[in-house]
C-alpha cells in the first residue's frame, strides 16, 4: 500500500510540529486557568492544554459567540442539575432504614405543590432556553454572511480521500490541506465532496458542516487574530481518516497576498493529471499549493455525481 508510507511521513511531520514548544504568555495562561475553572471541574494541571485546542480558546467571532453561548447554557444548567445532585444523596441517606426517628409515610404518593415544583420551573427554564436557542441558532447559522465592510473571501472546499482541496476562485489558486485566510476579513466557504460524506471542523474558528457529493453546503467564519489553527474532517471516511487534518493559516492581509503570490509562483497548475493524483486515496505528507485552477472546477465536482459511476 503506497499510502502507508505517506501516512507514516505525515505522522512524523505532525509529531515534529506538535513537539515544538510554544511559550505561553501570561494572558493565555490566565485565560487557560479561567477556562479550566469555567468549563470543567475535571481539568487538572496537565490537561489544561487540551482545551486551548478547542472552542475555549476562540480565534474568531463565530467561535467566540459559540463559547459565550456555551457559558450561558452551562450556567443555567448548573442550576438545573444542582437540585438533583444534592437532593438524591441527602434524601437517600437521611431516610435510610437504619436511622431511628424518621417520619415514615409509606402510602404518601402525591402532593400538588411538589408536582407544581417539578413541572413548572423546569418548563420555565426550557421556555427561556428555547428563546436563547432560537436567537443563537439564527444568529450563528453557518450560512449567514458575517457583517463586515469587506467582501467575504470566497473559498471552495472539496472533501477528498483523505485530504481537503481548497480552491480560491478569485485568486486563481488552490491548496491541499492548507487554508490561508486574511485576519479580519470574513471567509465564505462553499463545500462539496468528491467522495463520501465528510465534515469540516476548525474548533477554534467555526463549527462544522457536512460536505456531500453532488451538493453544496456553506460555512461563514473569520479569524480575528493571526495564528495556525487545526482543521479536520470529523466524519469517518476510511483508513486515512485519522490523518485528515489541515492547517488554517490566519495571517495579516499583506501576508495573505504574499501567500497567494507564492502559490501562483509555484508553476504547479491543478491540471487533469494533478487532479487525477488527488482523486487517489492518499494522505499528502505536506500541504501542496497550486498555481492555477481550471475554471468552474468546483461545479465540475458537483456535476460528476449526475453521471454513471466511473
Amino acid at each position: 500500500m503506497p499510502e502507508c508510507s505517506l501516512i507514516d511521513r505525515l505522522s512524523a511531520r505532525v509529531r515534529r510540529r506538535s513537539f515544538r514548544k510554544r511559550s505561553p504568555s501570561l494572558a493565555s495562561t490566565r485565560r487557560c486557568l479561567a477556562t479550566a475553572i469555567a468549563a470543567t471541574p475535571l481539568a487538572f494541571v496537565g490537561g489544561c492544554d487540551v482545551l486551548r485546542l478547542g472552542v475555549a480558546n476562540p480565534a474568531g467571532p463565530v467561535a467566540e459567540a459559540q463559547w459565550h453561548l456555551l457559558l450561558i447554557v452551562g450556567a443555567v444548567l448548573f442550576f438545573v442539575a444542582a437540585p438533583v445532585l444534592i437532593l438524591t444523596p441527602i434524601i437517600a441517606w437521611h431516610y435510610r432504614l437504619g436511622k431511628k426517628g424518621n417520619v415514615y409515610r409509606p402510602t404518601w404518593t402525591f402532593s400538588w405543590p411538589l408536582e407544581g415544583l417539578i413541572w413548572i420551573p423546569p418548563t420555565g427554564i426550557v421556555v427561556g432556553l428555547g428563546f436563547v436557542l432560537w436567537h443563537y441558532t439564527i444568529a450563528l447559522d453557518p450560512y449567514r454572511p458575517l457583517p463586515s465592510t469587506q467582501p467575504a473571501l470566497e473559498v471552495q472546499a472539496v472533501a477528498l480521500d483523505w485530504k481537503w482541496l481548497f480552491i480560491y476562485p478569485d485568486q486563481g489558486a488552490a491548496a491541499v490541506n492548507q487554508m490561508a485566510i486574511p485576519v479580519g476579513r470574513p471567509v465564505h466557504v462553499s463545500l462539496t465532496s468528491g467522495t463520501v460524506m465528510q465534515s469540516l471542523l476548525i474548533p477554534q474558528l467555526a463549527g462544522q458542516i457536512y460536505a456531500m457529493a453532488g451538493m453544496t453546503t456553506q460555512l461563514n467564519f473569520a479569524a480575528n487574530r493571526p495564528g495556525t489553527f487545526r482543521g479536520q474532517n470529523t466524519q469517518f471516511n476510511g483508513l486515512g481518516f485519522q490523518n485528515q487534518k489541515f492547517e488554517v493559516l490566519a495571517m495579516p492581509p499583506d501576508a495573505f497576498e504574499a501567500w497567494v503570490a507564492r502559490a501562483r509562483a509555484t508553476a504547479r497548475p491543478l491540471d487533469p493529471a494533478a487532479l487525477d493524483g488527488l482523486m487517489q486515496k492518499s494522505v499528502p505528507p505536506e500541504p501542496i499549493l497550486y498555481s492555477s485552477v481550471p475554471p468552474d472546477l468546483f461545479q465540475t465536482f458537483i456535476a460528476r455525481t449526475q453521471e454513471p459511476s466511473r
Partner: protein, 694 residues
C-alpha cells in the same frame, strides 16, 4: 476462478478471508489479535459443544430451553445472549481505548482497518445485541408475571423473535472467523458503505445482522403490546399497571413504529449493493441524506426503546427498596407517554450539520430540550419516592442512585448538544461519544443490572451474592466516570471520534485516564461473572423459595421462586395498584385457591430455532454471494412456516392434580419459612417470606 465450481459453491470466499491465514501472512499484533478473537470464537464454541455433550445435556437443553415457548425461558435466553455479546463488545472497547492511549504520535498496535471494524462492531453489538436482547429479555420475563398472565399473547412468535436475534448475533460472531466486518460505524452511513467505497463483505454482514435483529424486535414489540392490551388479569386497569409494564408498553409501541424505518433503510442499502439501485449512491441521483433521515427516524426512538424499560425497573426498585408506594404514578405515566411521543419529533438533531435551514434546526433543538422536561419529572418522582421512606442500599438500589446522579450529567450535555451552534462544535467528537455513553450506561446498563439483581431471585430461586454485587457496582460506576468524563474534555478540545491515531500530545493524560477507566469497566464485568459463580456455589444458603425476598408489591412476588411454568395456579384478581402489598396488609397473602383446574400451556416447538438458524444461513449465503445457500435457507424457512401450519397439537395440558401438587409443595415452603424483617433481608435468614411491617 479457473474452476467454475469454486465460485459457484463458495461465492466470493477466499482463503485470505480467514483471519488465521491473514495472521500467518502478516504476523503483526493487529492481525494476531484478529486471529486470536476468531480462534476464541471457534475454541469457545467447540468447548461449549464438548462440555454439553460430555454432560449429556443436549436433550435437556433442546426440550427445556431451545424449543420452549415459556416466556420465562425465552426471557432468560435473551439475557444470556446479552451477557455474551456484552463481553465481546466490552473487550473491543478496551482494545480501542488501549490503542488510542498507545497511538499518540505513534502507530499503536491496531491497524486502521482493524480499528474501524472494532468501533463498528462495538456500536452495533452494544445497541442491537446487548441492549436490545437485555431489555427484551427483562420485559419477556417480568411483564407477563406483573400483569397476572400465563404467557405472552403469541408464544411461538416470541420464540421466533428470540431465535432471529440469536441468529443475527451468531452472524456477528461468525464475522470474526470468516471474512471481516463493516468499517462504516454502527449507523452504516452511505455512500461510504456503498459498493463504490466498501466492496468487501463487511457492510453486508452489518446489513443482514441488523435486518434479522430488527425483524425480531418488530415482532417482539407487536407481541408485547398485544399482551399488555389483552392479557391483563381481571381488575388490572391500565392505571393499575405496574410502572415497568407502562414503560414496556411505551417501548413496544416505539418498537412497532421505529424499527420499520431501520428495516427499510438497510433493505434499500442492500438493493443498492446487490441489485445496482441508486438510493444512496453518489451517482445517478442517489442521495445519502435520505438514509440519514431514515436511520435516525429509527435511531432516536431507539434511544427511548433502550431507556424506558430501565426507567420502569428504577420505578419498581426505588419504590420497593424505599418501602414505599411509588410517588406520582400518574405523573410518571404521563411523562413516559410524553417521552414516547416526543421521541419521534427530534431525529434531525443527529445531523444539525447537514446544512438545512437554521429555522429547522431551531425547531428540532427546542423539541429536543422539551424531552428533558418529562425526564426530569421522572427523576424528581423517584426522589420523592425515597422521601419519608425507609431506604435500603441493596445492589439494585445502589444502581438506581448512581443512575440518578449520573444520568443528570448526561442530560446536561444533552441540552448542550441540543443547541445547534454548540452541536456544530462538538458533533462527531468525543464529546458526543461521552454524551451518549453517559445516557446509555446509567440509562440502560445500570437499569438492566438493577433489574438483574432485583428479579434474579425470582427467576432462579436464590439471591445473588451481595459482596461481589457491590464490588461490581463500584467498578461500573468508578469505571464509567474514569472512562467517559475525560472524553468530554477531549471532545471540547476537538478530538474526533473513531480516530485510530492521535497527533496532539495534549490529549495524552486524558486518554490515559480513559484507558484506566476502560480497564475498571472490564473488571466490573469480570466481577459480575464472579458474582454469578459465587452465587451458584452458595445457592442453598441464599434460597428464597417463598418468592418475596424484598417485600415488594407486584403480582410477580406473590408466587414461588422460581415460578411454575404456568405462573399462576389461579389467575389473580386485583383491585389495587400494588396488589400483593394489599393482600399482605389484609393479612392473608397466600390464601390457597378453592380448587385447582387443568392448565393448557403452549406445547414446545422447534419452529423458532429452525427459523432463526435458517435466517442466519440465508444471511450468510447473501453475504458471501453463495446464492445456492441463500436460496436453500429461504426455501427451507418458508417450508418450516408451512409445515408449522399443519401442526394441530399446539397445547400441552397440565392436569389439575399436577397443578395442585406443585402448589401444595410451595405452600409447605411457606409454612416452613420464618418471616424476615427488612434489616436482615440480605442474610441467610431470608427465605422469601416478608414480615409485614406495621
Amino acid at each position: 476462478m479457473t474452476e467454475p465450481l469454486w465460485p459457484a459453491l463458495l461465492g466470493r470466499f477466499g482463503w485470505q478471508d480467514l483471519p488465521f491465514v491473514r495472521a500467518w501472512a502478516d504476523p503483526s499484533l493487529s492481525e494476531i489479535i484478529g486471529a486470536g478473537a476468531g480462534a476464541l470464537v471457534v475454541v469457545g464454541g467447540l468447548a461449549v459443544v464438548v462440555l454439553i455433550t460430555w454432560l449429556g445435556r443436549w436433550g435437556y437443553l433442546w426440550r427445556e430451553w431451545f424449543t420452549s415457548l415459556d416466556h420465562k425461558r425465552i426471557g432468560i435466553l435473551y439475557v444470556v445472549i446479552a451477557f455474551t455479546m456484552l463481553s465481546r463488545a466490552l473487550v473491543e472497547a478496551v482494545l480501542m481505548r488501549m490503542q488510542q492511549a498507545a497511538a499518540i504520535n505513534a502507530p499503536g498496535f491496531i491497524a486502521p482497518d482493524h480499528f474501524a471494524q472494532l468501533f463498528t462492531t462495538h456500536g452495533s453489538i452494544m445497541i442491537f445485541f446487548m441492549a436490545m436482547p437485555f431489555l427484551t429479555g427483562a420485559i419477556n420475563y417480568v411483564m407477563p408475571l406483573q400483569i397476572g398472565a400465563r404467557d405472552v399473547a403469541f408464544p411461538l412468535l416470541n420464540a421466533v423473535s428470540l431465535w432471529l436475534t440469536a441468529g443475527a448475533a451468531g452472524l456477528m460472531m461468525v464475522s470474526l472467523v470468516i471474512g471481516r466486518f463493516s468499517t462504516g460505524g454502527w449507523t452504516g452511513y452511505p455512500p461510504y458503505t456503498e459498493l463504490a467505497f466498501s466492496p468487501d463483505v463487511g457492510p453486508d454482514y452489518w446489513i443482514w445482522a441488523v435486518t434479522l435483529g430488527s425483524i425480531g424486535t418488530t415482532l417482539s414489540g407487536l407481541n408485547f403490546a398485544v399482551t399488555i392490551y389483552k392479557l391483563r388479569c381481571p381488575g388490572m386497569t391500565l392505571m393499575r399497571m405496574p410502572m415497568f409494564v407502562w414503560t414496556s408498553l411505551c417501548t413496544s409501541i416505539l418498537m412497532i413504529f421505529a424499527m420499520p424505518p431501520l428495516t427499510v433503510a438497510t433493505a434499500l442499502l442492500a438493493l443498492d449493493r446487490y441489485l445496482g439501485f441508486h438510493f444512496f449512491t453518489n451517482d445517478l441521483g442517489g442521495n445519502m441524506m435520505n438514509y440519514a433521515n431514515l436511520i435516525w427516524l429509527f435511531g432516536h426512538p431507539e434511544v427511548y426503546i433502550l431507556i424506558l424499560p430501565a426507567f420502569g425497573v428504577y420505578s419498581e426498585v426505588i419504590a420497593t427498596f424505599s418501602s414505599k408506594e411509588l410517588y406520582g404514578y400518574t405523573s410518571l405515566v404521563i411523562a413516559t407517554m410524553a417521552i414516547a411521543v416526543l421521541s419521534f419529533t427530534v431525529w434531525v438533531h443527529h445531523f444539525f450539520t447537514m446544512g438545512q435551514s437554521a429555522n429547522i434546526n431551531a425547531v428540532f433543538g427546542i423539541a429536543t430540550m422539551t424531552i428533558g422536561l418529562p425526564t426530569g419529572v421522572k427523576i424528581y418522582d423517584w426522589i420523592w419516592t425515597m422521601f419519608r421512606g425507609r431506604v435500603r442500599f441493596s445492589v439494585s438500589m445502589l444502581y438506581s442512585l448512581a443512575f440518578m446522579m449520573t444520568f443528570v450529567l448526561g442530560g446536561l450535555t444533552g441540552i448542550i448538544l441540543a443547541f445547534p451552534p454548540l452541536d456544530y462544535l462538538v458533533h462527531n467528537t468525543l464529546f458526543l461519544v461521552a454524551h451518549f455513553h453517559n445516557m446509555l450506561i446509567p440509562g440502560l446498563l445500570y437499569g438492566m443490572l438493577a433489574g438483574y439483581h432485583y428479579w434474579f431471585p425470582k427467576a432462579f430461586g436464590f439471591r445473588l451474592d451481595e459482596k461481589w454485587g457491590r464490588i461490581s457496582f463500584g467498578c461500573w460506576v468508578v469505571g464509567f466516570y474514569l472512562a467517559f468524563m475525560p472524553l468530554y474534555v477531549l471532545g471540547a478540545g476537538g478530538m474526533t471520534r473513531r480516530s485510530q491515531a492521535v497527533f496532539e500530545p495534549a490529549f495524552r493524560p486524558w486518554l490515559y485516564v480513559a484507558g484506566v477507566g476502560a480497564l475498571v469497566l472490564l473488571s466490573a464485568l469480570a466481577s459480575l461473572f464472579v458474582q454469578l459463580l459465587v452465587s451458584i456455589r452458595n445457592r442453598e444458603a441464599n434460597r428464597v423459595p417463598v418468592g418475596d425476598p424484598w417485600n415488594a408489591g407486584g403480582l410477580e412476588w406473590s408466587i414461588a421462586a422460581p415460578p411454575p411454568e404456568y405462573n399462576f395456579a389461579v389467575i389473580p384478581t386485583v383491585n389495587d395498584r400494588d396488589p400483593f402489598h394489599g393482600d399482605k396488609a389484609d393479612g392473608d397473602p397466600y390464601a390457597p385457591p378453592k380448587r385447582y383446574e387443568a392448565i393448557a400451556m403452549p406445547a414446545n416447538s422447534m419452529t423458532g430455532p429452525a427459523l432463526g438458524g435458517l435466517g442466519a444461513v440465508t444471511a450468510f449465503g447473501l453475504v458471501w454471494h453463495m446464492w445456492w445457500l441463500a436460496g436453500f435457507g429461504l426455501a427451507a424457512g418458508i417450508a418450516t412456516i408451512v409445515a408449522r401450519s399443519f401442526v394441530r397439537d399446539l397445547h400441552r395440558t397440565i392436569p389439575a392434580a399436577e397443578v395442585a401438587r406443585i402448589d401444595r409443595h410451595w405452600r409447605r415452603d411457606i409454612r416452613k419459612a420464618k418471616p424476615v424483617g427488612r434489616a436482615v433481608e440480605g442474610t441467610r435468614a431470608n427465605r422469601g417470606l416478608a414480615e409485614v411491617e406495621a
